[in-house]
């Protein structure tokens, strides 16, 4: 049986790991390679690493770091941050990364999604949508550049477009829920889930394993990603890398899965 995926998401800024709240207030939490080593021991399902400076600073991805991360990861790795050309996608795949994520590049140039999917295959092309509720009607909207630029696009329309062009996975990243640790935005996930059939990973809001169980219970086979939950412990947000044990994971996957 295919299982839902429980995925730590690490944010990189100036070469260090950070954790944000609502995409702001980055707090330094450690060294990326060290974190990967600990997550290896914890047998995580998959990792997402997002370089949150690259696009904002309009610079190239840090290929040296990506190579080191890919070599160290004993689980599949999805890299995102600053990816905007075909050459970059191919280069990152050649460094041993399983999946390449694009966000603002896909917003600005949908053609890159189609082209990348054609060359490296849909299974390796991920589109990350940073989503925020905006405006009078509190409508969901896709934002880019660390939540500083609105795009005017609805996440549902955008998700459908990138699926049609060959994206193999959509990561729904809630700006409103980021770092808040009060649960995922199920309304947003529901809208996207109804619209597309490629795998979805949800990021933003997980504050406990119960939140992850609830997501799996509601949506079945899905990616449940989290940042704060897997790097902080306790109300004072002490840095402590953690992840459910194999038994804990089995329990929440099986319990959550009964509906499906």
């Amino acid at each position: 049986m295919l299982r839902p995926r429980i995925i730590p998401c690490l944010l990189v800024k100036n070469g260090g790991l950070v954790k944000t709240v609502n995409f702001t207030h980055p707090k330094y939490v450690g060294d990326p390679i060290n974190a990967v080593k600990i997550f290896n021991e914890k047998e995580v399902d998959e990792m997402i690493v997002l370089d949150i400076d690259a696009t904002a600073q309009n610079r190239e991805p840090d290929y040296g770091m990506i190579r080191n991360l890919a070599a160290e990861c004993r689980m599949p790795l999805c890299y995102g941050g600053g990816v905007k050309s075909m050459e970059q996608v191919e280069r990152i795949i050649s460094l041993g990364v399983e999946k390449v994520a694009m966000s603002s590049a896909a917003v600005g140039n949908l053609g890159i999604v189609a082209q990348a999917a054609k060359v490296v295959g849909s299974q390796s092309i991920v589109v990350v949508m940073d989503v925020k509720k905006t405006g009078r009607g509190s409508k969901y909207e896709v934002w880019t550049h660390n939540a500083s630029k609105p795009t005017g696009m609805s996440p549902v329309d955008f998700a459908k477009q990138v699926e049609n062009l060959g994206a193999g996975e959509v990561v729904i990243n809630s700006i409103d829920c980021d770092g808040v640790m009060k649960g995922y935005d199920f309304g947003l996930v529901h809208e996207i889930r109804e619209a597309i059939s490629v795998p979805i990973t949800v990021l933003g809001g997980a504050g406990s394993l119960k939140d992850i169980a609830a997501l799996i219970h509601a949506f079945g086979i899905i990616g449940a990603a989290a940042g704060s939950l897997f790097v902080f412990k306790g109300i004072y947000r002490a840095v402590l890398i953690n992840y459910p044990s194999r038994a804990e994971k089995d329990a929440l996957v099986i319990h959550g899965h009964q509906n499906h």
């Binding site: 049986m1 295919l2 299982r3 839902p4 995926r5 047998e43 399902d45 998959e46 190579r67 890919a70 070599a71 160290e72 990861c73 004993r74 689980m75 599949p76 191919e90 795949i93 050649s94 041993g96 990364v97 399983e98 999946k99 054609k118 060359v119 490296v120 295959g121 849909s122 299974q123 390796s124 193999g168 996975e169 889930r193 059939s197 490629v198 795998p199 979805i200 949506f219 079945g220 086979i221 899905i222 990616g223 499906h260």
Partner: protein
Amino acid sequence: MITIIDYGLGNIRAFANVYERLNILVSIAKTNDDLKDATKIILPGVGAFDFAMSQLNKSGMRETLDKLVLEHQLPVIGICIGMQILAKSSDEGVSPGLGWLDATVKRFDASFLKSKTQLPHMGWNTIHPNNDNPMLVNISDDSRFYFLHSYYFQCNNPKDMIATTEYGIQYASAVNKKNIYGVQFHPEKSHQWGIQLLKNFADL
């Protein structure tokens, strides 16, 4: 020596790391010269079928590999797209494959899938070994492996299937004929289950 083929796709370093931890010597081949000491070959891969074939053809190692595998019968294992290119052709592209196995690569028929999430087949799934092939020593029915693909390997000779996985249909997740092996999942990214499989390949 186990030689990992570096043709610009797939996680070469991850395989090398697994074997270093097992104290097993490996080498990495980018050119024909690097294939001289090979006694076993790993053909890794992440990507699309035509891209993989064009990268392999461009590497200049194609003819030597044909000779080592078909004439000298060195054990070889293809991983993910590296398995799929062992076939004659694929629905995913127009390039001919290596044709080392009598098989074709098909796209999953999404209408067989009940779940709302359909393709790619992405994440951790189980495999069901269906004979006591040496590649599957100490790999039981509840072993989990990481899968990432939308196309599957269809053997024209069912005897070549050594393990199956269920995703809408039962399909070949591991194959073997003589010295040629293939696995659809990523053992280099499948924690201790994958390490066991890579150890089994080393022990062949």
